[in-house]
């Protein structure tokens, strides 16, 4: 799996959100950090074509994320900041099955896939529950399950431990560390990314550092001070 940015940048209504940059992402665990409004989320959304670059191009395994968005989004799963808005059907197993609908799988294959993914995250007991009754940690795991059921090769997580209590935070951290898939994690939770393979730091729309976690975190502390 190779994600490639080629002089890719994005601006909205004349305001630069991400300045053009060139880089390749191949590591298994990549963290993205930076202050609020630094361009982290826009950068992440450019990977799967939810934000199309206004200049340059972004490719995932050679597929252009702007013109071939559908293929790219099948390879790149995205877990949004607010899992509340990601789960769109009222009952959890219905929602998870929804992502598989376009595959035209037989009913029992869908059911098996849904059961499997729920078991993988240890939330099979939530299968028939109403989504609006789930707790924050349960919702985060449910969102993860709803995305991973379609077997993407990479997942992007936008602040997965945001607004979670200490126990749920530990649970989500453990889950993220245990993922078989390549993971790109946007986070303010520096503990989460401390032993990642690579960390990118964004500052005012620019890539300010790109290195091993300890160096990048140190630089982040300087910038934030």
């Amino acid at each position: 799996m190779q994600i490639h940015f080629e002089q890719a940048g994005a601006s909205f209504e004349g305001r630069v959100a991400v300045e053009p940059l060139t880089l390749s992402l191949t590591e298994r665990r990549i963290g993205i950090i930076g202050l609020n409004g630094s361009g982290k989320t826009t950068f992440a959304r450019m990977i799967n074509g939810l934000v199309k670059p206004t200049q340059g191009r972004v490719t995932v395994d050679g597929f252009d994320s702007a013109s071939d968005g559908e293929t790219v989004r099948a390879k790149v799963g995205f877990i949004f900041q607010n899992p509340q808005n990601q789960i769109i059907l009222p009952i959890l197993h219905e929602d998870i099955a929804l992502g598989l609908k376009n595959r035209r799988l037989p009913r029992h294959a869908v059911d098996a896939a849904v059961d499997g993914i729920l078991r993988r995250f240890g939330i099979e007991r939530l299968s028939g529950r109403r989504v609006h009754e789930l707790s924050g940690g349960e919702l985060q795991l449910a969102a993860l399950a709803s995305v991973l059921v379609t077997e993407p090769e990479v997942v992007i997580l936008d602040e997965p431990t945001n607004q979670l209590d200490l126990r749920n935070r530990a649970l989500v951290e453990k889950t993220v560390h245990g993922l078989d898939e390549m993971a790109i994690v946007i986070s303010h939770d520096l503990d989460l990314i401390r032993d990642f393979d690579r960390v990118l730091l964004f500052h005012e729309g620019r890539l300010a550092a790109d290195d091993a976690p300890s160096q990048v975190i140190a630089r982040y502390r300087e910038l934030a001070a």
Binding site: F12, R45, N48, G49, L50, V51, K52, G69, E70, R73, A74, G77, F78, F80, Q81, N82, Q84, N85, Q86, I87, I88, L89, P90, E94, D95, L98, G99, K101, N102, R130, V131, H132, S146, V147, T150
Partner: protein
């Protein structure tokens, strides 16, 4: 949200949604043509028997049918005052029959069955490029999913009024409710597109941003 479906195994439960809907439409047309109080009275009794066969129970039936019957009685009394007693009786019997039959269909057909039937019915329109049939089920699911959250938001806004000593007015409740709810549309739409749920032709969102 609870639905008006009632579990059971009556004749109506076993009939397909399509058969029931076609029969209901046909009976509706027949009843509008029919103007004899005697025949209408017989059909009302038949409808009552059919409704009773579903097994909804007295209390539940009373709760469900009362609001509709109130409007029927008001209209019948109005018809009695301005038209003839015979016309009033025709109105009363005709509406009662229709409402009983429709309520029986509703009580014996699950939401999923309806959605499947409507999706199927929308396929020809899909070929004309008017709708995407699968969007219908998605939209129904979205509303059921988000009603509890909109309600929670409404309660939070009302509490905020109270905490600040403000009187809750329709305007000051509706405006924040609409803005706070619709602001989530971008996120939800992004999630639907990211998960590839609507299938082909990803929406042209970025152009609109």
């Amino acid at each position: 949200m609870n639905t008006l479906y009632v579990t059971g195994n009556s004749l109506l439960h076993r009939l397909s949604a399509r058969a029931k809907l076609i029969a209901l439409a046909a009976t509706g047309i027949a009843l509008i043509v029919l103007a004899s109080p005697l025949l209408l009275g017989i059909s009302t009794l038949a409808a009552l028997a059919l409704y009773a066969s579903v097994g909804i129970g007295w209390r539940q039936s009373w709760l469900r049918l009362r609001p509709v019957f109130v409007t029927i009685f008001v209209v019948a009394i109005f018809a009695l005052l301005v038209n003839s007693p015979e016309e009033a009786a025709v109105t009363l019997l005709r509406l009662t029959t229709l409402v009983l039959l429709a309520a029986a269909v509703t009580a014996t057909t699950g939401i999923g069955e309806f959605v499947d039937e409507i999706t199927l019915a929308a396929r020809p329109l899909e070929r004309l490029g008017l709708v995407r049939a699968s969007d219908i089920g998605l939209a129904v699911g979205l509303v059921i999913r988000f009603v509890p959250e909109v309600l929670g938001r409404y309660q939070a806004i009302r509490d905020a009024h109270e905490a600040r000593g403000l009187k809750a007015r329709p305007l000051t409740l509706a405006v924040p409710l609409i803005i706070l709810t619709l602001k989530n549309a971008d996120d939800i739409a992004a999630a639907i597109d990211a998960r590839g749920i609507r299938g082909h032709k990803p929406a042209r969102r970025s152009k609109e941003r």
